[in-house]
């Protein structure tokens, strides 16, 4: 029963649209808990799907699903506290959209059919649009418009790419189902020209959704305008879902022996994203936008690592895991800061360490993690990627990579110091309740534990995922 994992939140989401506030909030947390349990059962048993030509449990999908589930559960706990403090007009629409959004993202991780993957990714765009428009302001309307239009057009490119991949099957494979696993099996008989064209379109399409430069323009707007729990979901898991589409297509490319082609393009887009983030993060004056650019940077790192191959893929997956955990906790902290100071601008905040000490701990710890300081997970991931790139002889690319990371670190650190220690006489508007800081602590703690100890079963899933595209601890 693979399908039940995404059907449960879908039904709960539809029900939540008609429930009063308080019941809706508890339904959110309950569904989060149920989803987490179901995901663990799925991971333990690895059952066959009922519609097995469309859905399958794959290692890379399973990994993303576990992250989504854990994140959603913790974020849903935070959301209850958040909703009490903030004034949201149509709360039932918000909770309903959150749950449907969870359902569509789960569907992305479980889909094996190349077109069902597209359907699911487009559905995530549609389900998350109401979340971004929650505040009903002119700015949030603009962000929603850009998000829906840019992502829909981008994802239309991915649809064209999927059709082209289906083209590459030609007459010889007429009976093969158009699923990622089946296509990887017959990859050698596919027409390389159509496959290459399909990959480029899919990369541009899902890359738009993933936030790769130069298609990233919607991302800072959407992340800054959405309420913080939604931003945390967008950044922590939605970007991974889009990456999953690219990752799975890359699997076919590797099986077809075209990894040099796909790897090269992935590296170029990755570097462009890191450069774009480095350019914009230096002069950033809003903290949520700054976090959004940091997400673009991390997506760039992940794409770059996947393109490098070998140890780099392992590094990319490690970065993906830790980025999700740390960045979502940072966005939740930004929600506390926004509620506390009532302002998005960095210059109107300050002295976080005194006025909101519990948020400060999570915020600063999150910063050290995401900036790639040793011994945290992002550092290990980046180190793997750098070593792999040196081994493969991409000296120029890796120089640009390292220099940009330094610039981003400097810009990021500068802003974080201002928020944390600058003088500020604003009166804080909220109390830091346990429900609004513990989810962040737990997310960071999970990340910290995973730096030192990865359970064997999880390690196995990670290596299964990376081996398929020629990666591993080599």
């Amino acid at each position: 029963m693979v399908e039940i994992v995404f059907l449960t939140p879908f039904i709960a989401g539809l029900v939540a649209l008609f429930l009063p506030k308080l019941i809706g909030r508890s339904l959110l947390v309950l569904t989060g808990a149920a989803h987490l349990t179901l995901s663990f059962m799925l991971w333990r048993n690895q059952p066959q799907a009922i519609f097995d030509q469309y859905f399958a449990v794959t290692p890379e999908g399973m990994l993303s699903l576990l992250v989504i589930s854990l994140l959603f559960f913790l974020i849903s706990i935070y959301t209850v506290g958040f909703l009490k403090e903030s004034q949201i007009q149509s709360e039932s629409l918000f909770t309903g959209a959150m749950l449907v959004f969870l359902s569509t993202m789960t569907m992305v991780t479980l889909s094996d059919h190349i077109m069902v993957m597209w359907i699911a990714i487009e559905a995530t765009t549609l389900a998350s649009a109401p979340l971004i428009y929650t505040h009903r302001s002119a700015a949030s309307l603009e962000a929603t418009w850009k998000y829906v239009l840019i992502c829909s057009v981008g994802i239309a490119m991915a649809l064209l790419g999927s059709v082209l991949v289906a083209f590459s099957m030609g007459q010889a494979n007429a009976g093969t189902p158009i699923s990622f696993s089946a296509l990887a099996g017959v990859a050698k008989t596919l027409d390389p020209m159509w496959l290459k064209a399909g990959f480029v379109f899919i990369l541009v399409g899902y890359g738009t959704k993933m936030g790769l430069a130069p298609m990233h323009t919607w991302l800072p707007d959407a992340h800054s305008e959405a309420p913080s729990p939604a931003s945390a979901l967008l950044s922590g898991v939605l970007l991974n879902c889009a990456f999953l589409g690219i990752f799975k297509t890359n699997k076919i490319m590797v099986a077809a022996g075209l990894e040099d082609f796909s790897g090269g393009i992935l590296m170029v887009f990755g570097l462009l994203s890191i450069l774009a983030a480095a350019t914009f993060i230096l002069k950033q004056n809003e903290y949520k936008r700054m976090l959004a650019y940091s997400s673009i940077e991390n997506m760039g790192i992940i794409a770059f690592g996947t393109g490098v191959g070998g140890l780099g893929v392992y590094g990319a997956v490690i970065c993906m895991l830790h980025h999700s955990l740390i960045k979502s906790s940072l966005f939740l902290c930004s929600g506390n800061i926004l509620l506390g100071y009532g302002d998005r601008m960095i210059k109107n905040t300050g002295n976080l360490i005194k006025v909101m000490p519990r948020t400060f701990v999570a915020f600063f710890a999150g910063f050290t993690g995401i900036a790639g300081l040793p011994p945290f997970g992002i550092f290990i991931g980046e180190l793997c990627i750098i070593v792999a790139a040196f081994k493969a002889g991409h000296y120029v690319a890796i120089t640009v990579f390292i220099l940009s990371l330094c610039v981003i670190f400097a810009g990021f650190a500068n802003q974080i110091m201002k928020i944390s220690f600058d003088e500020c006489d604003t009166v804080i508007k909220i109390k830091e309740t346990a429900g609004m800081v513990w989810p962040q602590y737990l997310l960071l703690l999970t990340s910290l534990i995973l730096c030192f100890y990865i359970p064997d079963s999880l390690n196995q899933t990670i290596s299964d995922a990376v081996i398929a595209i020629g990666g591993g601890l080599r």
């Binding site: 469309y54 059919h113 077109m115 069902v116 597209w118 359907i119 487009e122 559905a123 765009t125 549609l126 649009a129 428009y133 002119a138 700015a139 309307l141 603009e142 962000a143 929603t144 418009w145 850009k146 829906v148 239009l149 829909s152 057009v153 239309a156 649809l159 064209l160 059709v163 289906a166 083209f167 099957m169 030609g170 007459q171 494979n173 007429a174 158009i178 800072p220 707007d221 800054s224 305008e225 914009f280 002069k283 950033q284 936008r289």
Partner: protein
């Protein structure tokens, strides 16, 4: 010689040219409906034996692409009394010239591509490519938000046409899922259009430039 499909596809190519030159949103919507109808009846003419399910599916596609989608945009305009000129960034004459270039380019490219098409129709690939590029052109060169949504739907129509020329047909259930997504997307865009109109009192996307770095 000439078969009926090539003849109606040539009308689609003409409508493409027309949509480059028109300044009225309403005409664009009508053209969109026409293109939607044509691309959804193409499967009737392609060799497959049509099962009952296939026929029903094709008719549903026809209703959604040809009627529901254009109508929902039309309703969004009517309720909001939105301004009806497309506000081009590239002028109309230059646009028509671009349109000609697009059609010639599309024909040239599809001649070069060695597509194993089961259909045997000469104009299927050129029309599909022309629709795709026209959609993108409208998205880039019109500041009116409605014209942008129309551009997006034209792109989708083009992709659907590419897909219908496939020798390996995907299952109807999958195509239906895609159609449902597109429909939901257009509905959401229509809601946003109405809100943009209410908030800014216009649908000029030049107003939507406050968020930037």
């Amino acid at each position: 010689m000439f078969n009926p499909v090539d003849i109606i596809l040539s009308f689609v190519l003409l409508s493409v040219l027309f949509s480059f030159g028109t300044d009225r949103v309403l005409i664009l919507i009508k053209l969109l409906g026409f293109q939607g109808v044509v691309v959804s009846i193409i499967p009737f003419f392609i060799g497959h034996d049509m099962s009952t399910g296939g026929t029903v599916f094709t008719l549903v596609t026809l209703v959604i692409r040809g009627i529901v989608i254009p109508l929902s945009i039309f309703v969004a305009i009517r309720k909001g009394a939105i301004r009806r000129v497309v506000e081009p960034i590239v002028g109309y004459h230059a646009s028509i010239l671009c349109g000609l270039a697009v059609i010639i380019g599309a024909t040239y490219i599809s001649g070069r591509l060695d597509i194993v098409s089961v259909s045997g129709f000469k104009l299927l690939e050129p029309t599909a490519i022309a629709l795709l590029v026209t959609g993108m052109f409208l998205l880039m060169t019109r500041r009116n938000a409605i014209a942008m949504v129309i551009g997006y739907i034209m792109m989708e129509n083009g992709i659907y046409l590419v897909g219908s020329g496939l020798s390996v047909g995907t299952r109807h259930i999958v195509e239906f899922g895609i159609l449902l997504d597109v429909l939901a997307g257009v509905m959401i865009m229509a809601v946003i259009l109405r809100n943009i109109k209410q908030t800014f009192d216009d649908v000029d996307t030049a107003l939507l430039r406050t968020l930037k770095d």
